[in-house]
Amino acid sequence: MIYQNSKTILEVRGLRATVNGIEILKGLDFTVKSGEVHAIMGPNGSGKSTFAKVLAGHSAYEVTAGQVLFEGRDLFAMAPEERARAGVFLAFQYPIEIPGVANSQFLRLSYNTVQAQRGKEELDPLEFDDFVREKMKLLDMNPDFLDRSVNEGFSGGEKKRNEILQMALLEPSLAILDETDSGLDIDALRVVSQGVNQLITPDNAVVLVTHYQRLLNYIVPDFVHVMDAGRIIKTGGKALALELEERGYDWLSDEHQAASETRAAELTL
């Protein structure tokens, strides 16, 4: 939802980033305000997931230019764990399996770490158990998943539910959901989307990174951005996603290419 007097949560200017020396993000501009839902779409290899990982602070990606402000703070001056504690949350496209660490233990450790940072009360195992079971209902999750190792042997859908469960626990001000719809059947997609919708407030913001329009039927974006070759080449409303669904991405790339060529031609003239 777009609100009057909303505050800026994320401001990305001229962001460039490389992985293994190859430039993936080539001057990205992007602004998110509280209460808003943004969708970033684009063909495979356009840099969507790289953008998500760069925001979360993955060490494989090197930022070479540009600036990112998160609630006015320099995001790149913060370690990944500081970003998480400050309210940046990335739901992974491929959540990591951690054999030997009970999911309940992991969730509580994460929750208490973030709570402590925010000066809020930490929960002991019993209190946390009650708390997390309540949140699991939101995602129609079986409490058995608490006793299992983190994501180990979870199906694709169960892993994604577990990601959104973490979002529900950590209450981030910026949630970036990287291909959360991939690997979900239609029922799981509905449940996960409903879960996300219940977590959206006027004070936080959600960025959906997705390849398909399908997810946006359930989580309705205020803005749809199209990424191509490391830049946002078009921004529109919900209708843009439907148009993409119908026409694919090629026409946009071509249009963008043509526009750039025209500009270049004008400049040379």
Partner: protein
């Protein structure tokens, strides 16, 4: 050859020093013990302290040990129950306590429940002589093993556990060896005999109440008669300055089942030799964890000997080395001629927590039968960066993330200990130790 002799010279002196510093032991009332001692002393004449030139000691240099001298334990430390209460295990009420190798009945809690024999050799009546003498010193060879020979040369007492035929002793038996005196050498000895169809859990536990160097040189013999089941948990949590050189010989009778979990956390240099001999249809699970840091060295040598057909062995050995620690694993699985239908799986998994840490692992298979199923493998790695990042992206500090992942790696072995109180003690210890890694 002369060079080798010259190199070994200081070590021979060291052995002599260890032998001569000990007071002359009074003759044992047990003829068998006196004979074993004599035999061990004569073996020592032909043995030398091992050096890295010996294949079996390639990675474990005992020079730091041989530079020190150790006194015999002359008098028992007076300990109170309160001093050692932190080591008690709630679910193992029966306990034999040895302080610096000396049996301490007032801290122990013996039992005769179910006809069990759970006491020290010195307290055993003549009626058990035949059973004990038939086993003690029969399984651990001393002719080619200097530390087993040293232990046997000083053999005068031992923890003795005999589980009668078909008795299923549910409560774990805790044999606790406590080091309290600095600069001493002690020679703990343990004998467990599980008669046919019996079952028991043994916790063999080495702990310390001081931080100075000392030498512990134990020998444990475990005998499982046909269809006996033994769970053997061995915890080496000596002080960080200790030297711990141990031998354990296990003989598993027909369709017997031996499960071993050995944990090495303490000592500046530790070595554990575990030999398991399997009779027809016998099974063993031999798991281990070395969790070391600073400049500790932990060396585990195991040998699983499939002497007869239809034996099953499973082994998972893990090492976690931090700082400049050095872990060594050598696991030999031997399948003798005629030991058909042997089924053996062995795995060595190792985690290096720092650039200076080192692991040497050598799983070995020697197969002399043609119809067997044997697999083995080894991995050495660091913590997975994606796992660390995942945890950090959820707010955990780098140290907390690494600690949790290390804990999980160790947990797979610790979870195999079926003594809840001990498991919890070890879990806490692992969390503390991994939490202090940089």
């Amino acid at each position: 050859m002369s060079t080798v002799t010259a190199l070994r010279q200081p070590a021979v002196d060291y052995l002599d020093a260890l032998l001569t510093s000990q007071p002359q032991l009074p003759a044992s009332p047990w003829a068998r013990i006196n004979a074993l001692r004599g035999e061990a002393v004569s073996h020592l004449d032909g043995l030398a302290m091992p050096t890295p030139r010996d294949e079996e000691w390639r990675f474990t240099d005992l020079a730091p040990l041989t530079r020190l001298s150790f006194e015999p334990v002359r008098s028992a430390s007076a300990l109170l129950a309160a001093d050692i209460a932190p080591f008690y295990l709630n679910d193992a009420p029966h306990r034999l306590v040895f302080v610096d190798g000396i049996y301490t009945p007032q801290l122990s809690s013996q039992t005769t429940e179910g006809g069990m024999l759970l006491t020290s050799l010195s307290a055993i009546g003549a009626e058990h002589a035949v059973a004990i003498e038939a086993q003690i010193g029969r399984h651990q060879a001393t002719s080619d093993n200097v530390f087993a020979a040293l232990n046997t040369a000083f053999l005068h007492d031992a923890a003795v556990i005999v589980v009668p035929r078909n008795v299923e002793f549910a409560k774990p038996v805790h044999v606790l060896f406590i080091a309290t005196q600095a600069g001493v050498a002690s020679y703990p000895r343990c004998l467990l005999v599980a008669e046919s169809g019996s079952s028991v859990t043994l916790v063999e536990d080495y702990v310390a109440l001081q931080d100075e160097p000392y030498l512990v040189n134990p020998v444990t013999e475990i005998v499982l008669a046909d269809q006996a089941h033994v769970k053997h948990v061995r915890v080496q949590r000596d002080s960080q300055q200790a030297f711990h050189i141990a031998n354990c010989a296990v003989s598993v009778g027909r369709t017997g089942h031996y499960q071993s979990v050995s944990i090495a956390m303490g000592a500046q240099i530790s070595r554990y030799n575990l030999n398991v001999l399997l009779a027809e249809g016998a099974e063993c699970a031999v798991d281990g964890l070395a969790l070391i840091a600073d400049s500790q060295l932990a060396d585990t040598h195991t040998r699983i000997d499939h002497a007869k057909p239809h034996g099953v062995s499973r082994q998972l050995h893990k090492c976690i080395a931090g700082d400049s620690a050095h872990a060594v694993f050598n696991g030999k699985v031997m399948v003798r001629q005629g030991a058909q239908h042997t089924d053996s799986v062995q795995s060595s998994r190792n985690l290096l927590l720092s650039a200076k840490a080192q692991v040497d692992t050598k799983p070995e298979l020697e197969i002399f039968a043609d119809d067997v199923k044997c697999a083995h493998g080894a991995t050495v790695g660091q913590l997975d960066v994606e796992e660390v990042f995942y945890l950090k992206s959820r707010g955990l500090s780098d140290a907390a993330a690494r600690s949790l992942l290390t804990y999980a790696f160790a947990g797979e072995i610790i979870d195999r200990i079926h003594v809840a109180s001990l498991k919890h003690q070890l879990q806490r210890r692992v969390l503390t130790q991994t939490g202090s890694q940089p």
